[in-house]
């Protein structure tokens, strides 16, 4: 066991003079705002206020693929059938883990800053419940199912009736999808599968090919935290835009052929 040092214990104990509390506070507020908005939109906005999740051929990304309509009771949102996949993927994502461990668990709140409690038998991700973070790769496998349907729905939204249409909604949906796809393809688990689990990249033609893929995923992985944050904003923006269209707040500016 490591002999004890002299670090000051207790929440916020530090000699740091910079505003270390700013990052965990802003991230905590941002994440909480997204969680509150997404729960409200997915489960309450329709049943309580009668605002739809579809408008003018656009489908909110919270509901894609649209399953269970006509089977589920009216008070139960169909989002419940699909939302658990991206929720699980993001909750177990390394980038989000770093964010919420700092912001909500203060474990630690910032580097070289004291925590609320010094544990005698600290285990973190080595023991239940946080050992379940190892399921990230399972959610990665599943994540490509809704992602595929999101692309299909976004392409279908280009041809809502008998004409082709390019609207602001299409631009927002495709921007969201590029961010979501970038977020999924920059995943640390995918980087591992691409080639990170190899020890010899040059040994065979197959390992050389995987090394090539691994390098590209590694480059993308360098932007993983940014893609995680921007894709979160992208999903919320796409959903909000379609909800406001459905509520008749404005009309989608578009070019029709």
């Amino acid at each position: 066991m490591k002999p004890p040092g002299t670090a000051a214990l207790g929440f916020g104990a530090t000699s740091r003079r910079d505003s270390w509390i700013r990052f965990p506070s802003l991230v905590g507020i941002g994440l909480a705002a997204f969680v509150v908005y997404s729960l409200f939109s997915a489960f309450l906005w329709g049943p309580l206020f009668g605002v739809g999740y579809e408008a003018d051929g656009y489908l909110s990304p919270f509901f894609s693929p649209l399953l269970g309509v006509g089977i589920l009771p009216a008070w139960l949102s169909p989002a419940i059938l699909i939302l658990w996949i991206p929720l699980g993927f993001r909750t177990t994502c390394y980038a989000f883990r770093r964010a919420y461990y700092r912001s909500y668990f203060a474990d630690p709140p910032a580097c070289a800053v004291g925590e609320p409690r010094a544990h005698r038998r600290y285990a973190m991700e080595a023991r239940f419940p946080f050992i379940l973070q190892n399921s990230h790769r399972i959610f990665l496998y599943l994540q490509f199912i809704p992602l595929t349907f999101l692309w299909i729905d976004a392409i279908l939204a280009l041809h809502p009736g008998s004409t082709w249409r390019l609207g602001l909604g299409n631009v927002i949906l495709f921007t969201d999808l590029i961010l979501l796809t970038g977020f999924s393809l920059s995943c640390n688990s995918l980087r591992h599968f691409a080639g990170g689990n190899l020890d010899c990249f040059s040994c065979t033609a197959r390992t050389r090919a995987r090394h090539s893929v691994w390098k590209r995923v590694t480059d993308l992985n360098g932007h993983h935290i940014g893609l995680a944050a921007w894709s979160l904003l992208g999903v919320a923006t796409a959903d909000l835009y379609i909800r406001l269209l459905a509520a008749g707040v404005f009309i989608d500016p578009s070019i029709r052929l």
């Binding site: 002999p3 689990n197 020890d199 040059s202």
Partner: protein, 279 residues
């Protein structure tokens, strides 16, 4: 010359210790270690500071400057405002010896527990062949100067006691360098699981303080977590290994029974080297 105020921790394990203020004349190009040397030369000849190369390569002068683990020889005085007092403390995660010197010997004991470089025993070193792309990942880890700033800032070592010994980021980096080595044959996955790769919760503080800019979390710790997950937590890989009779589901690594970057049928003489780390 302008004066800058330094609050330097002074004390021993037997005394309570506290901060002593010194006004140090600052010249262009000075680093914090220069200021400490000025204090030693002019005001406090008994100030204990560990240092050696003054070139950010020996890792000896690690301390906490304004609360951030840093090398005193790499922290410029010009990084601080002209009226800003600078606080210099020892590495807080390790036991105090005196003033700015701490006892980091625990790290060397941890290092001994890691299975060293284990090349194949049935071939000659002269027959080893690997390409730059095989060794690039490992070369990043070999930049480590063992300053132990990452160990100091790691909140698991700094704030908590673990139910099983946690080796800390420095030794996860060393383990990653061995595990990813194209010719190493040892399997340290069980040690990683028991030695606590799960204790790391990805706060990336170790990466932030590394003076060699090693991407400790992204390139060493997360890949090791993924290798442990391959072995113990991925039901698909576990099932796939059973179907394939125990071989890795994602394999291709140079473990026993898989391809190695070694010339076939070589006969040159030569004994396998050690990995050199921690000696």
């Amino acid at each position: 010359m302008p004066l800058v105020h330094l609050n330097v921790f002074r004390g021993t394990p037997q005394t309570e210790g506290g901060y002593v203020g010194y006004d140090v004349p600052v010249e262009e190009g000075m680093v914090v270690l220069d200021a400490l040397h000025w204090i030693q030369a002019n005001e406090a000849p008994d100030l204990a500071v560990r240092w050696n190369c003054k070139a950010a390569k020996c890792g000896s002068c690690g301390c906490e400057i304004n609360g951030k683990p840093s090398l005193a020889c790499k922290t410029r005085m010009s990084d601080f405002g002209p009226d800003e007092a600078i606080t210099v403390e020892p590495l807080r995660t390790f036991p105090l010896v005196r003033d700015l010197v701490t006892d980091v010997s625990w790290n060397y004991e941890v290092n001994k527990r890691i299975t060293p470089f284990t090349p194949p025993t049935d071939g000659d070193q002269a027959d080893w062949r690997w390409q730059q792309e095989d060794i690039e990942r490992v070369q990043e880890f070999r930049k480590c100067i063992e300053c132990f700033l990452c160990q100091d800032v790691c909140h698991v070592l700094r704030n908590h006691e673990t139910d099983r010994p946690f080796v800390g980021p420095r030794f996860l980096v060393r383990t990653a360098g061995l595990e990813m080595h194209p010719i190493d044959q040892a399997d340290r996955t069980a040690d990683l699981k028991d030695g606590g790769v799960g204790y790391c919760n990805i706060t990336k503080c170790c990466t932030e303080v590394c003076p060699e800019h090693i991407r400790i979390t992204d390139n060493a710790i997360i890949p090791l977590k993924e290798r442990v997950a391959d072995r113990y937590y991925d039901p698909i890989q576990i099932a796939w290994r059973k179907i394939r009779g125990g071989r890795s589901g994602t394999g291709g690594g140079s473990r026993a029974g898989e391809s190695l970057p070694v010339l076939p049928g070589g006969s040159s003489t030569g004994s396998p080297p050690s990995d050199g780390a921690g000696s």
